[in-house]
Amino acid sequence: MNAVTTTHQHKTNTFKWLLKREFWENRGGFLWAPLITGAIISLLTAVLAVIGVARFRNSGVASDLQFNGGLAEHARQIGGIGDTALLTGISLTFLVLAFVVFFYALGCLYDDRRDRSVLFWKSLPVSDLQMVLSKATWALLLAPVVALAAGLLIGAVLWLIVGMAAAAAGMPSASAIFTHSNPLSVVGNALTMIPAYLLWALPAVGWLMLCSAWARTKPFLWAVLIPVLSCVMVSMAGILPGTSIDYGKVWYTLVYRGLFSVLPGSWAPVSSAFQDNAQRAENADIQGPADIMNLMNISNLDVLGSPDLWIGAAIGAAFIALAVYLRRWRELAD
């Protein structure tokens, strides 16, 4: 006994290495998917910009492009173009994120049971709780952070392309695209996506991870069919006389919150800021990009006050707890 304890021992930081491990395995989804999407979109934008510049120069309409309300207002609207470019970049990577997180959560506790490598992970001193939590951390926190960083990078590239194109096309005071934009406000508001996403996507990610830990085969079918078919059955039960069920709520709870919540921004229906803006948009007099940005560039923190988000998060946490239990005792998948 003594002889054993005196031999080589060193300090370990298990959770950090588990997170690294997830990144090694899923580099493609977490890093390359948003970057490659961004590269393709940037390239397309650049090509379109070149074509656009050539046409504008020939037609000479660029100099006519003036926003009403004097020079200051013109510059303000032009500045909105820069913000729009930045927000476009972020929106792109967040759209990609929805797919990445969906399939990552669905595979993360299933794939290694199928190829038997779970036996290797289980031969090491790593608890199932740590293992599952490291995966949930990537899906809910680190993947969105990477997506945001990649989105900002892409947004900056788009911004540069649009700015240069505008200048090349001879748009009046095109430099306002850089000088009259509000990147800090865009970035600040985008950062509020991170906590909102973590809590909002929790039920969907929890459900997908639960299916991933539970399914012996075809986790995708189980994860999608169980909520969808339940809703269909409830809806069909409505044919019976004397039943009054709020189908909308059932579909919203099971399918929208259970699956579609992996899409960043899908909390719009419960966001009061978003609802207010939707109201304002109907009445607003939208003159140019800056006005659109006023409606789009909003903080997401107000959803943190919605009971919907917190109830969903609690259910999601329960799903993940179940997934930990299944990870401990479930055998290999075939």
Partner: protein
């Protein structure tokens, strides 16, 4: 608590009593009891479906089961996380994740295992064709096992469990595998449990053997006692009836009227009068004891 104390005192690495595990309607472990001491290399040998893997999975805390089981004084069902600091296993060939590179595997195990000796692992790797950038999916089965073995041997575990570790490897890799294990890993503080169908290849390294059949341990014995207890007799037609009277547990005919018989507990001097005697091979003993398994 008492059980734990006595367990540690007697130096038992594994002590199992009345293990039961049923899969659907088939019993994989049927009131299985056994005891493994420290510093032994135990071969757990049985026909397909006899419950070998189930027994190992129970020891490793991978499955729920009924009965009393202590591994290094811990219950693998409830104390698995602590247990895995002291126990390591190779479940099968080719369970290393296919996306992983050699470098990543070493970094990861070094990062999370307090008993992993990185320098030792790199020394083992240096003797192979593995290079740090190679991915598992690009390796042959033999190379995957080399990597896995290098990782496991660099972990100073008290119990190593090997379940068919050389399945599907060619003879060169198989020989090298066990050679490595004996020369560079095994010592009196360590215990190894191994299952395999290639009985002949491991019998010379085992200190103990356990035969399992239909979820029960049918023989458990140190190898030297096996040699004392069982005798193989090569006899000719003239002495055959006399030999049969001593109730051999197995008998098979050879060409030219010779017969080989296997005796359990018959004194060797007595048999020597009837023909040539020798120690039976583990494989022949296995076949004799498992007779009728698939009948």
């Amino acid at each position: 608590m008492n059980a734990v104390a006595t367990n540690e005192a007697t130096g038992a690495v594994v002590s199992a009593r009345g293990l039961r595990k049923a899969y659907r309607n088939r019993l994989a472990l049927d009131d299985t009891s056994f005891h493994i001491e420290a510093g032994r290399i135990v071969g757990l040998i049985g026909p397909n479906g006899a419950g070998k893997t189930t027994a190992l999975k129970a020891i490793l805390g991978l499955i729920p089961f009924k009965g009393d089981l202590l591994v290094l004084g811990m219950d693998p069902r409830t104390q698995r996380d602590e247990l895995m600091r002291e126990v390591c296993f190779i479940a099968d060939v080719a369970v290393l994740p296919r996306w992983m590179r050699v470098r990543e595997a070493i970094d990861f195990v070094a990062g999370i295992h307090p008993r992993f000796d990185r320098a030792k692992c790199e020394r083992f790797i240096a003797n192979t064709q593995l290079n740090p950038k190679l991915r598992v999916r690009e390796m042959s089965k033999g190379m995957i096992v080399q990597l896995h073995l290098a990782l496991v041997m660099a972990i100073d575990a008290r119990l190593l469990v090997l379940d068919e570790p050389t399945l599907g490897l060619d003879i060169l890799y198989r020989k090298q595998f066990y050679q490595r294990l004996l020369e560079d890993y095994f010592d009196e503080q360590k215990t190894i449990i191994v299952t395999t169908h290639q009985v002949e290849e491991i019998e010379h390294i085992l200190t103990d053997v356990m035969f399992i059949r239909d979820g029960r341990i049918v023989l458990t014995s140190p190898m030297d006692e096996v040699a004392e207890r069982y005798t193989e007799l090569l006899t000719s037609a003239a002495a055959i009836d006399q030999a049969r009277a001593l109730k051999p547990i197995d008998e098979r005919a050879l060409p030219f009227g010779k017969t080989v018989m296997l005796f359990d507990g018959v004194p060797r001097q007595q048999l020597a009068e009837l023909g040539e005697t020798r120690n039976p091979g583990l494989a022949d003993l296995f076949v004799a004891i498992m007779k009728g398994t698939y009948a």
